[in-house]
Each structure stands twice: as structure tokens, then as C-alpha cells.
Symmetry: C2
Subunit: 205 residues, 2 copies
């Protein structure tokens, strides 16, 4: 059971890099098996078809993505008692982590896949939707904690505010890719951070 999993995860690693660079449609199975050193039959032993590869890819990506957010905002929560200060620190840490990536963010598979709806089946679209909803729940939790202590200076829907974090991340990735300026993404996160600072600034200070 172990050797099969090893080959499978090597396939997924190679596939993720290729898909992020060239898109799912632009990535051929022949190319993946050449780099992995496996035969075509071997590939189809692990994945029934290309769609199942897509499913495994996106699931793997989302798990990893969630782990990173858990770590960052978990650490920030440990370091700061105040929920707002903790969130602000988390954004800072996130922006620093992203600006340390030498070639910029490699791209978000969720974004890549949702832009090609009709290429994938409903199951993958549902996985994608669930991922976006998980982001929403995560950040809504943080904003709800903040709002126990701080009153927002503009009346905003908590879900929409939570979605804004994902929006800035996804939009920042697109913009930094289009502009070929890897730092744009972390800059945009810091601009968003300033907005949050303004939103929860105490009324008399």
C-alpha cells in the first residue's frame, strides 16, 4: 500500500506544478508520466481518468491551503490576546510569507478550476464551492470575535466582510500574475489590512 501512495503523490506533485503553469487543459498525461517516470497504464491504474486527477489535485490543494491558514492565524492567535490585534498580525504574517516566495504565488487551483466550469463535473464544482465556504466560515469566525470587542465604523455584513479576505487574495493573485509583479499580492493584503484598521478604529482616539 505504501509504494502506490508514493507514486500517486509524486504524480500529484508533478501535475500540480504543470497545471498551475499551463492550466489543466494544457497539461497532457503523456507529459506527466514522462516526468514521473511511469507508463500510461500506470497513470490509469492510479486515476480512472483526467477528471479524477483533477479531483485529487484540488482536494490536495485545499487541504494544504487550509493547513497554512490554520498555522498562520493559529500562531497569531497564540501571540495576541486581542482578536483584532491577532487578525492584524495574521494578515501581516500572511503578507510576509507571500512576499518571501521568490517567484510570487504559484496560483490558486480553486480559481483556476472555477474559471473552467464546463471542463469539470459537478462534484469538482461542489468541492470548489465548499472550499470558498470554508474560507468564509474561517474569517467570519474571526470577525465575529472582533465585533464582540470592537464596533465597526461602517455597518457591514459579516459574511461579505469575511469574503473580502478571499476576494483580496484571489484578486491579488490574478493582478500580480497579470502585472508580472509578484509583490502586488502581499501589497494588496496590506492595503486591506489598513482598511480593517480603519473599520475597527475606536471612535474617540
Amino acid at each position: 500500500m505504501r509504494k502506490g501512495d508514493e507514486t500517486r503523490s509524486r504524480l500529484l506533485e508533478v501535475a500540480e506544478a504543470a497545471v498551475l503553469a499551463k492550466g489543466f487543459g494544457g497539461t497532457s498525461i503523456d507529459e506527466l508520466i514522462a516526468e514521473t517516470g511511469i507508463t500510461k497504464s500506470g497513470f490509469f491504474y492510479h486515476f480512472r481518468d483526467k477528471n479524477e486527477l483533477a479531483k485529487a489535485l484540488i482536494q490536495r490543494y485545499i487541504e494544504n491551503d487550509n493547513r497554512i491558514y490554520d498555522e498562520i492565524f493559529g500562531r497569531a492567535r497564540e501571540l495576541m490576546d486581542d482578536p483584532l490585534q491577532s487578525f492584524m498580525l495574521g494578515l501581516k504574517m500572511l503578507s510576509e510569507l507571500l512576499s518571501d516566495l521568490p517567484n510570487g504565488h504559484p496560483g490558486c487551483l480553486v480559481a483556476g478550476f472555477c474559471y473552467y466550469e464546463r471542463l469539470f463535473d459537478r462534484e469538482i464544482q461542489e468541492i470548489n464551492r465548499e472550499a470558498a465556504l470554508t474560507w468564509r466560515r474561517r474569517f467570519r469566525g474571526m470577525f465575529e470575535e472582533i465585533m464582540v470587542v470592537y464596533e465597526p465604523r461602517e455597518p457591514l455584513d459579516v459574511d461579505q466582510l469575511a469574503d473580502m479576505v478571499s476576494t483580496v487574495l484571489e484578486g491579488g493573485i490574478v493582478l500580480s500574475k497579470a502585472l508580472k509583479e509578484p509583490n502586488s499580492l502581499s501589497d494588496q493584503i496590506l492595503v486591506f489590512r489598513s482598511f480593517i484598521k480603519l473599520l475597527f478604529r475606536p471612535r474617540f482616539s
Copy 2:
């Protein structure tokens, strides 16, 4: 000369819809010629290869995109003397225009193309970059006008603030596609609008 242009633009129309729904790689030439009622040779008479179709598509998309922004923010500028009020109205009009689309935003070709860098040649990447820079220039102009009259309550880089408009638009499109909630995009624009309101709120009021 006229009949050729007509066929060409019909091809582009059909292609744009297909590419936005299925991605560039997922759109076949056979499919395009079937819907346009042309032969394969006819297609290659108009476009040397698929890459030239991509170039024509993105150029057409960007022209159209710029025209829409010109109209919206131009009208807003006519209706309001104050640059901040005019920008706020523009955002409101944009969000209303987007929420009126029954199936949500069809997707941004700039985002779609920049996510697949290696599928296209440098020329297309340069066109994409120029489009993002044009957005930056457009919105930076507006913020510079605003800052003549209003002092921002947080020190922000004008380019980064201008990029935030594009970020929110691109991120909002991704999020509303992933969530399958067409209204998310216009909601996110209104959240951003609230941030701008906070940023330029007079200090004593």
C-alpha cells in the same frame, strides 16, 4: 473587405462565449466553425493559428472593458462635481450594472489568460500586463483627484490603492464563480466602497 470582417467578428463572438465557459484549451476550433457555419479552412483564413485567435479575443475584450469603465465613471463624473462623490457613485453604478446581469459576470479574459501563462506567447502576456496597467492608471487618476480635496486617514500608496479596485473586481469574479453566488461580486464592490468612504471620511464629523 466588409464581408470578411463580419465573419471574423461573428467568430470572435462565438469564441469569447465558449472560452469564458470552458477555457481556451477546452474550446475546439471544430466547435467554433460548427456554430459559426464556416469551414476549417475558413477559420484558418482569418486566423493563422489558435494563438492569433487568442490575441484577437483579448484585444477585443480589453477594448470593450475599457469602453464600459469610460462610460460608467464618465457619467458619474458628469453627475457629481466632487471627485470623491463621483467615484463613490461610479462604484455604485458598477455594482448595480453587475448585479443586473442575470447569470453573473461572464468572467474576465485577462484573468483567464494570465492563469495559463505558458499556453500563450509573450505578446499576449504583454497585452495582458498593459491592460492591468491601464486599470491602474485609470483609478490612480481618480484617487489623485480625490486626494487634492480629501486627506486619507491611512497613508496608502496611490498605485496600490488603485490596484485594489482591480483586485476587488477580479477576486470578486473568482469568488462569485466558486461560490456560485452571482451577487457576491457586486456585494464585494460595495464593501470596498465602504472602505473608501472610511478612508476619506473628514477627520471631525
